[in-house]
Amino acid sequence: MKALINRPEDIVREALEGMALAHADLIRVEQDPRFVLRADAPVQGKVALVSGGGSGHEPMHGGLVGPGMLDAACPGEVFTSPTPDQIVAAAQAVHGGAGVLLIVKNYTGDVLNFQMATELLADAGIPTETVLMDDDVAVTDSLYTAGRRGVGATVLAEKICGAAAAAGLPLAQVARIGREVNASARSMGLALSPCTNPQAGQASFTLKDDEVEFGIGIHGEPGRSRIPMASADTLTQMLLEPILQDLPFARGDEVLLFTDSLGATPLLELYIVHRAAEQLANQHGLKVSRRLIGPLMTSLDMAGVALTLLRLTPELRGYWDAPVRTPALCWGLAR
């Protein structure tokens, strides 16, 4: 494989060094233990938001650190969850006296490491709440698997909780809002090609030229089935129908539609998918009032797309619209 790396073991450190140089106005980077934090952290009196997970999903989570969103992000090695000491150090560095909200995607490694960190933070006297994200409808057999995975709704929860924290809400309320986002959002993705972990040097799985992995996870773990390649409109419909049925979304619901690239899918194709998804949502009687489009939760160089629908309330919409200023998401005048 070809990749713009130096030594495989230096990938995460060097990428973070680059991020720190590129976004010095917004973030700082600590390397031992490793985490990204707001340049102005800790913000006194504000609930601090900490997330984390394996690297390889950029800009999530490090690119979502900044005013109006995360206070810190803990990157693990590529596709490997961070360790408890990273999470504890990050939480201690950003704790502004109002407690720490941990936003965790439902993967066994992430759950275990955050759970251990939570126990250590309790010993250190830092109050925490955890919001566990599991919005992936691709996983149907929750009983005999590690359960539904946390995917696109994580980005939305980080934005909305970030705004709620910035507005001065207490920890329990910010956690409640995070859980509401998870409960009101559903996602599913598909892959046209596998990704290659540059630390492993080989493709995560193999797909024939005319095959699509339907219900893909963000590390290339499979979902529902392998299906023949089809048109953008057909594939979009196949993604959206199970999402609509699962919550279920009802006629008249106001929704946010998030069309995410898994890394290698160009914006040109993303807009074609978004067009189909928004038209279909309209046909189902939904009112799409907010959109997010772009590569935000990626799987390295995987070609593919994921859709997330979030049912909005006036409260959630208000926090979505609130200013944010991070390397990846930036609108309004966040301070």
């Binding site: 360790t83 490694g109 275990l112 251990m116 005999y144 492993a200 499979p222």
Partner: protein, 211 residues
């Protein structure tokens, strides 16, 4: 053949064990990664090698006073350096073993070690919620530790681990990321069971008790 006296393991022997683990991981991490590639994301060997290399660094820089401190050092180091699910799981295994060992001992008899490892395994299972047959490291650890509890020697325990590893091949994974493969996880040995077998084979490597 039975031995009248339970064999005793010195602390230096356990340190050679960890040395063996790191050496074998150095040469076998690619094959562990390849096992993980089939049902995971091809990094189990690299992650454990990073952790046990860090263990070697710590053993050099701050040698543990006694055997419980040795197990605690391994547990803390793995939790702090491996990541993923295997870091907390192996880390907890070593930490809970440390807690169950008699304090301030520089040698331990095999039966006492077997009891402590049983406590380690229980801690691991409390955290990971895996049972035998879920296609995890438990499938190699549990039969090996059970054999030790029954009075078997370390070589028999290692053989039981390897047997448990081979028995994971037809299983469907029910825990961790491999569980999303469902039936597609069949036909591949579990990488966690493979690394657990490596651990036990190193423990048995210079076993003089069974000679």
């Amino acid at each position: 053949m039975t031995t009248t006296l339970d064999p005793v393991l010195e602390q230096s022997r356990l340190e050679r064990w960890l040395d063996c683990v790191q050496t074998r991981l150095a040469s076998e991490k690619e094959s562990l990664n390849a096992l993980d590639a089939a049902i995971g994301d091809a990094d189990h060997g690299s992650n454990l090698f990073r952790g046990f290399s860090k263990v070697q660094e710590k053993l050099q820089s701050a040698p543990p006073e006694d055997i419980p401190a040795l197990f605690k050092l391994v547990g803390m180091t793995l939790i702090g350096s491996v990541g993923g699910a295997s870091g907390p799981l192996y880390g907890t295994f070593f930490l809970e073993t440390a807690k169950a060992l008699p304090q301030e001992r520089k040698s331990v008899d095999l039966q006492t070690l077997a009891q402590a490892l049983t406590a380690g395994l229980q801690g691991l299972q409390r955290l990971g919620k895996a049972e035998k047959g879920d296609k995890t490291m438990v499938d190699a650890l549990a039969p090996a530790i059970e054999r030790l509890q029954q009075g078997a020697d370390l070589r028999a325990a290692a053989a039981a681990a390897r047997h448990g590893l081979e028995a994971t091949i037809p299983l469907i994974a029910r825990k961790g990321r491999a569980s999303y493969l469902g039936e597609r996880s069949q036909g591949h040995a579990d990488p966690g069971a493979a690394s657990a077998t490596l651990l036990l084979e190193c423990l048995a490597r210079d076993d003089d008790s069974a000679a």
